[in-house]
């Protein structure tokens, strides 16, 4: 059996978290490599539809933190299909994060089955000045920022990790070796986030290549607000991403 469970909003994971992080995630290791738990849990994440604090969180850092779980966060329709088939065929428990705003995005998807390996990042855009690592829906924010920055002569390279566990650090490090500058765009809250994790990894492993301090663009350290006027400020947007990029090239703009 390769069960696929759809758990709606990731915020609801709290009521079944033990089965995921103490049971499914641990079986293989605890049982000396004798167990397989080939399940996929689909879940929706992210703010932007006025769904308030218990239906809008981006909780993938919590799951990325736990050894034994694989975490997939597609940014576009083509990747969603290839990563889903790979997740189903994978023998480990996979949490498949789907940004609810991206359901409205259209893109070409082949009819036939294909897979995208878990743990392989994609270079979404090539550039030599600054590396942006962007997670899920934030890839499109990075692409919009990159387009406006190109007008100002700043060439951005965008890395979409596609899976945060395993994380393709090789691709990220190679990009940093070329650009020497890093911005991570992560829709989750900033503390103990993917952004802080990737900044930490790059600082530790690519320190000699860095030309400026890495920057994080994240939601603030607050729950997602309900009111639209506040929620629009909560989610990272292209302007905030562009400002962070300018910061890394010494063109600081007050954000």
């Amino acid at each position: 059996m390769r069960p696929i469970a759809e758990l709606m909003f990731v915020d609801f994971m709290g009521v079944c978290f033990d089965q995921i992080y103490n049971q499914a995630a641990k079986f293989r290791y605890m049982f000396g490599g004798k167990a397989v738990t080939p399940m996929v849990i689909r879940t929706m994440y992210g703010a932007g539809i006025r769904a308030a604090a218990q239906h809008s969180q981006a909780l993938y850092p919590i799951f990325t933190h736990i050894p034994g779980l694989k975490v997939v966060i597609p940014s576009n329709p083509y990747d969603a299909k290839g990563l889903m088939i790979a997740a189903i065929r994978d023998d480990d428990p996979v949490i498949f994060f789907e940004n609810k705003v991206l359901y409205a995005v259209e893109g070409d998807v082949p009819e036939e089955p294909y897979t995208i390996p878990l743990g392989e990042a994609e270079i979404v855009r090539e550039g030599e000045d600054v590396t942006i690592v962007a997670i899920g829906r934030m890839v499109s924010m990075a692409e919009q920022a990159a387009a406006s920055l190109a007008d100002d002569g700043i060439e951005v390279e965008i890395v979409d990790p596609r899976t945060t566990s395993p994380l393709d650090t090789d691709t990220i490090y190679e990009s940093i070796e070329n650009t020497g500058r890093l911005v991570v765009v992560d829709e989750s809250n900033p503390r103990c986030s993917l952004a802080s994790d990737i900044v930490s990894l790059v600082t530790q492993n690519c320190f000699e290549h860095l030309k400026s301090a890495p920057q994080m663009v994240t939601a603030p350290h607050t729950p997602p607000p309900f009111s639209g006027s506040l929620e629009d400020l909560y989610v990272p947007d292209p302007e905030k991403v562009a400002n962070a990029v300018r910061q890394t090239v010494g063109q600081g703009v007050a954000s």
Binding site: D11, F12, G14, V15, I49, R50, A51, A52, A53, Q54, H55, P220, H221, T222, P223, P225, F226, S227, G228, S229, L230, L233, Y234
Partner: protein, 335 residues
């Protein structure tokens, strides 16, 4: 309120004198108009987020809350407008909240699914199914430790009744004789799943046996039946007799949420219920045919409520949005 006033107020509860009947009708009518109006306004696209309407279930909120005081506690569900109104939350503040405005009852930060007023004992609507029962165990234990006669009521749907949190809470409340009432509002559907698909077809109230507490089934369309069952359970809880489970069989007039196409419901299902079992209609028939209240007195309440809802919507539409600095406030008490 002085202690004597609280005690006096409590003595009056349970007596369905004319004033109490008029109050109950006003509560139900206010909930109905609030929800019907939201149904209309949501269709215009002006209301953000998710809205889950309580229309059809008003007799339950009114029947239970008629026995409560301001310092008693209620924990609600995602379908929380009715409980909030019946527990005394400000109707205009609620409407502003649903429109996401700064003057809302939660300052626009919570919205429809998180309406709360702790000063009124309203511990919140809740975005998590099965989220309420553990909360009432907490406040129930607090009341017991402090030696008050406060009670705490959680409302849960038939879907929520199957959550582990509900079973754990019933067990704990029973083991510790907490002054808690678990109300199951069984409207037949957990979102789009009919009850027969999610549990074996026995009354949810029978689960009470397993926790050594009383469990009864009540017609949730009948204010008087709800009021009577609620009174007995609340009295027992106040006197230290421990928790009860009350299953109210009822129907919701609208979908799980506004925008729900309701393909899982039969044609005319709701129309027939409205014709035969509407709680406001049943209440009106009963009190007027018994000669307790004149039709004109109820009509007057209808008019007053209509004006209140009109004003609330108007004010909500015109009210200012929260300012950007509010994004970062209220995460902690101290920073």
């Amino acid at each position: 309120m002085t202690e004597a006033e609280v005690a006096g107020a409590r003595e009056r509860h349970g007596e369905l004198d004319k004033a109490a009947l008029l109050d109950a009708y006003r509560t139900m009518r206010t909930i109905r108009d609030f929800e019907e109006r939201l149904h209309t306004e949501f269709a215009t696209g002006e209301i953000p987020g998710f809205v889950h309407l309580y229309a059809g279930e008003e007799a339950i909120a009114a029947g239970f809350m008629a026995h409560l005081d301001g310092d008693d506690y209620v924990a609600s569900t995602h379908r929380g407008h009715g409980h909030s109104i019946a527990k005394g939350c400000d109707v205009k503040g609620m409407m502003l909240e649903i429109y996401g405005k700064d003057g809302g009852i939660c300052r626009g930060k919570g919205g429809s699914m998180h309406i709360a007023d702790l000063d009124k004992g309203m511990l919140g609507a809740n975005g998590i199914v099965g989220g309420g029962p553990p909360l009432v165990c907490g406040v129930g234990l607090s009341a017991k430790v402090r030696g008050t006669d406060q009670v705490a009521i959680s409302f849960t749907g038939d879907g929520g009744a199957n959550q582990g949190t509900v079973f754990e809470s019933m067990n704990l409340a029973s083991a510790w004789d907490l002054p808690v009432i678990f109300v199951i509002e069984n409207n037949g559907y957990a979102e789009a799943t009919a009850q027969a698909f999610s549990s074996k077809g026995i009354d949810i109230a029978k689960r009470a046996d397993g926790f050594s507490m009383p469990g009864v089934v009540v017609d949730g369309h009948d204010f008087f039946a709800v009021h009577e069952a609620a009174g007995e359970a609340i009295r027992r809880a106040r006197e230290g007799g421990g928790p009860s489970l009350i299953e109210c069989k009822v129907n919701r007039y609208y979908g799980h949420f506004e925008g729900d196409a309701q393909t899982y419901r039969a044609d005319n299902e709701v129309e027939n219920i409205r014709k035969e079992k509407d709680c406001l209609m049943l209440f009106r028939q009963r009190v007027t045919s018994a000669g307790l209240i004149e039709e004109s007195e109820l009509d007057k309440i209808d008019e007053e409520v209509k004006n209140l809802i009109d004003e609330a919507v108007k004010e909500a539409k015109e009210a200012p949005e929260p300012t950007p600095d509010k994004l970062l406030t209220d995460v902690y008490v101290s920073y």
